[in-house]
Structures are given as C-alpha cells and as structure tokens.
Amino acid sequence: MTRLLESEKLLAAALLTPGVAILLLFIAYPFVMALWFSLTSIRVGEAGEFVGLANFEKAINDTIFQQAFKNTVFYTFWATVFKLALGMWLALLLNRHFRFKRIVRASMLLPFIIPTVLSAFAWRWMFDPTFSVMNWMLYHGGVITDRLPFLSSGDWAMWCAVLVNTWRGMPFFAITLLAGLQTINPDLHEAAALDGANAWNRFWHVTWPLLLPVTLVVVVFSVIQTFSDFQLIYVLTGGGPANSTHLIATYAYQIGVASGLLGEGAALSLFMFPVLFAVVWFQLRYLKRMENA
C-alpha cells in the first residue's frame, strides 16, 4: 500500500483512474459510436449501411448548413469580442474600491447563474413583436415610431442572439479577469504612472500583457461553449425566421432528431470539431510558449 502511495507512476495511475474512466465510458466511447454513425446512413430504428463520406458531402452542399456555419462563426466571433471588451471593462470597474462592492460583484453573476433556457425565454418575451417591453421603452422614449423587428428579421435576430449571449457570458469574463487583475502588483501601475503614462497607456502596456494568459484561457473556454451552443438559439428563435438563425448544433439537432436522420445529424455535429480543435491547439501552443519563456 505504501508503495502505491509513494511511487509517482502508480499514484498517478490511481489518481487519474476515476476521472479517465468516466471520460472514457461516457465521452470517448459514445464519441466513437457517433463517428461511426456519421459514416453510415443510419436512421431512427434502421441500422443503415456504410456510406463513407456521403453525409459530409451532403452537408457541405446543403445551403441551410452553409448558412448555419456562417451564423455560428458570426455569433461566436461577435459574442466573444463583446464579452471580452465589456467583461474587461467591468472587471476594471469592479477592481476599484467602492461601497456595496461585495453585493454588486455577487449580483453581476446572476445572468451566468440562471439556467440559459429560462433566461432565453425571458429575453424572447422581451423581444416579442406583440408584447416587447423594449419596443415600449423605445417608443415612449421617442426613439422609434414603429416596432423594431427584433426576432422577425434574420439579421436583427442574429444580433439579438449575440446580445443575449453577451449578457449571459459577460459576468464570467468579468469575474475571471477580475481575479487576474488582482494578481497584478499595484506597484507596476504606480511606476508607470510616475513615468507619465495615462490610464489608457497603463492599461495597454501594463495590464493587458499581464492578463494575456488568463484572457486567453477564458476566451478559449468561451469560444468552445459559444461555438457549440444549442440552448440559446433553440429557445430564442428555433432556428428561424426562415432558417436564418440556425447554428450548427441546432441544425444538426433538427436533422438528426426531428427528421430521424441520425447519420447526417452526426456528420453535421462533427463539423464543429475541426474549428474547435484548431482554436484549442493554438491556445495550448501559445500557453506553452509563454510558460517556457
């Protein structure tokens, strides 16, 4: 027993076993199954036969999928940009000392805490063409004369989705970046200020570089979540109007589950993988370079 608890190799094996076992059984194994599905013409209740890359080919030529892919990239890009910018700004604000700091910090996390499905419903009703409180406010504020087509126009709907995703994810960025900010030695800022740097310069030349590792990590996690997002669009628009807000995940779900075409659905889902893989790979390489430096 002491040998087990002592030897690095054996201890490592023992410690890693529970986690790896769960991941193997509930991710790796079904993943291989799903890979197999994507190479067959499997449908609900029918095993289908091996068709090679036919499902992938069909997907690439599918105009709805092309739109979904574009949407996913658009959605992920803009939501991440906004989440980072606003999250950073909020983190800088929260880093100062002010009354009610604790309660403000805690309440800022609420959008992140509430289950996505539920908050998406709330937003959906806030954008509803007939009942929208947004329209009411803008109308009575004299900004608009007729309602805004929040979810009825493809472009508007995409931006609304970005808005809701930003609202939801910004707190996570803010709190994580705040943690990073608190590790930065205030002396560095003082030194820079003494050298005559203004607030923006101080941020750009002192804060930003030091925060880069944290930023990178939180951006990667966020990109992964956002790129494979399902719940938000499913609840907010269902992929409409006219299939214009579908993401890869929601479209794959509609094909695989609603139409029963499991093989094609699996192939669609798998298109997410290369992009995510590339994102993660770059980040890991960058972090490793920074560690070695």
Binding site: L4, L5, E8, L11, A12, P18, G19, I22, L25, F26, I27, P30, F31, A34, F37, L93, F98, R102, V104, R105, A106, S107, M108, L110, I113, I114, P115, T116, V117, L118, F121, A122, W123, W125, M126, T130, F131, V133, W136, M137, Y139, R147, P171, I175, L178, A179, G180, Q182, T183, P213, V217, S228, F230, Q231, A252, G256, A266, S269, M272, F277
Partner: protein, 283 residues
C-alpha cells in the same frame, strides 16, 4: 481640482457602473414584475395605452402559488439540487486527483493525458446524446438521477482538472517536501497539505461545476422520462408550455425560483470564487 476629480469619477466610474448594473439586472427585474403580474395585464400589447410593462399596480402571488402547487416544481428543484451536488462532488474529486497528478507527478504521457482530457471538453452534447442513451440503457440507469449524476461529470471534469492543475502549480513544492521529510506519504501530503491550501481553488471549481450542471438541458431532457424525475430547466420548459399557450407568469416565477439556490450558493462563496481563480490564474 476636487470638482474635476469628481466629474471624472462620475464619467469614468459611476456612469459605466450604473449602465452595467442596468444591463445585467434589468431582465431580472422584468422577470420579477412578470411573475407577479396578474393575468389580464400579461395580455396587454405594448401598443395599448394601458400597457405598463415596467411595473404592475396589482401584484399577485397566483403564479407562484400555481407553480408550487399545480406543477412538480418543488420536486424538480430537489432533483436538480441533488444531481448538481453529486455531480459536482464526483467531478471535484476526480478533478482534484487528476489535477494533482498532472501538476505534480512526473510520468510518461502526462502531457498527452492532460491534452486529451482537455480535448474531451470539445465534444458537443448534441452529438453524444444518442449513443449515450444506448449506454445508459445498457447500464439500466434510465430515468434515474444517476443517469445524470454520471454523465454531467463529463462536462465538468475537464474544466475542474484544468483549473485545479493551474492552482496546484502555484503552491510551493517546499510545503510538500517538508511534509514528506516528516514522514508523510505522497498521498498523505496531497490530502493533508495541498488540498487545504488549495481550498479557494477547489471552491471555485466547485461553484463553476455546480452552475454548469444546474444549466444542463439536453441530457436531462432525453434521459429523464417521468415528471418526478425532471430537472428544473426541463420541467419548466416542458410543463409550462402547452404548445400555443405559454404560462408566462409561472414560467418567469419558475425562472426566478430556479435560480435562487445557485444564487445563494454564490452569495456565500463569491469571494472565495474570485480568490480561487486568482490562484489558478497565477499559475
């Protein structure tokens, strides 16, 4: 001089802060108003002169009561709590062990394993849930909380491992070495020295895991069959939406009440959460 400073403070701090608070919390205010709004008011379109979307003069508890008494909401709350706590516990333990192994122990393939664990985070649930249904059935776990308690860790373990790995790396090696010189085993040193020091990081990973498992939808939808087994997101969505009638009052009440437990957890631990992330971030 003082006036200039004050003006600056307003523009650079108070105004943006207020804007953020408004942006973040307005939906919650609106949800609360909707949850307490009587039905006739719910059906006023925004164009109608009598529309008052921002407040109600006749708050009512009927939606909350309806939610708690006519649906299995309390049961869903309990289910979600239990599942979240157990999944978090499992993920934390696995994450703590794996994080320690990857951060501190030298063995062949440690880098590969670390990357592999991270890669599993990339696999989307919309891809997995069909094959997983098969596996759950083979293990006879369908329609039991354990179906979720064992599958949620797949989403949670990678993140916990990464977070704790980073945190452990910042803990000076001397602490362990002292303990081992004093006769403790590696394992003993890990449990008795490292883990207590890493409590902020552990709490932080735990809170995040708790939130994620509270938020999960697809697996809960597919693996849970009966109304008593559902979780809050699935229950609220499937029972309070009858095709073309959304019970908005109850929906919003459910949304609010469904976030209360997690919010409470956060209110106690948010400071730990921040310091926890601080530690792992340093590494």
């Amino acid at each position: 001089m003082l006036i200039e400073r004050k003006w600056k403070k307003w523009v650079y701090f108070y105004l943006p802060m207020a804007a953020f608070i408004l942006f973040t919390l307005f939906p919650f205010y609106w949800m609360a108003v909707t949850a307490f709004r009587p039905d006739p008011e719910l059906y006023r379109t925004w164009r109608q002169p009598s529309a008052t979307p921002l407040w109600t003069l006749e708050p009512t508890l009927e939606h909350v009561k309806g939610l708690l008494q006519t649906t299995a909401f309390p049961q869903w709350l309990w289910n979600t709590m239990a599942i979240a706590i157990v999944s978090t516990a499992i993920s934390l333990i696995c994450g703590m062990f794996a994080g320690y192994a990857l951060a501190r122990l030298k063995f062949r393939g440690s880098e590969f394993l670390g990357t592999a664990i991270f890669i599993t985070y990339l696999v989307p649930q919309t891809l997995l849930f069909i094959p997983l249904a098969d596996i759950i059935r083979d293990m006879q776990l369908g329609n039991t909380p354990w179906a979720l308690m064992l599958t949620y860790p797949t989403i949670l373990i990678p993140f916990c491992t990464w977070l704790l790995m980073g945190y452990f790396k910042t803990i000076p090696k001397e602490l362990e070495e002292c303990a081992r010189i004093d006769g403790a085993t590696r394992f003993g040193a890990m449990v008795r020295i490292i883990f207590p020091v890493a409590v902020p990081g552990i709490l932080s990973a735990g809170i995040f895991a708790f939130t994620l498992s509270w938020n999960e939808f697809i697996y809960a939808l597919v693996f849970m069959a009966s109304a008593e087994q559902k979780t809050v997101p699935v229950g609220v969505v499937s029972e309070l939406i009858r095709g073309d009638i959304f019970f908005w009052g109850q929906l919003m009440a459910g949304a609010l009440l469904g976030s209360v437990p997690v919010a409470l957890v956060y209110s106690f631990f948010v400071e730990y959460y921040v310091t926890g992330l601080t530690g792992s971030v340093k590494g």
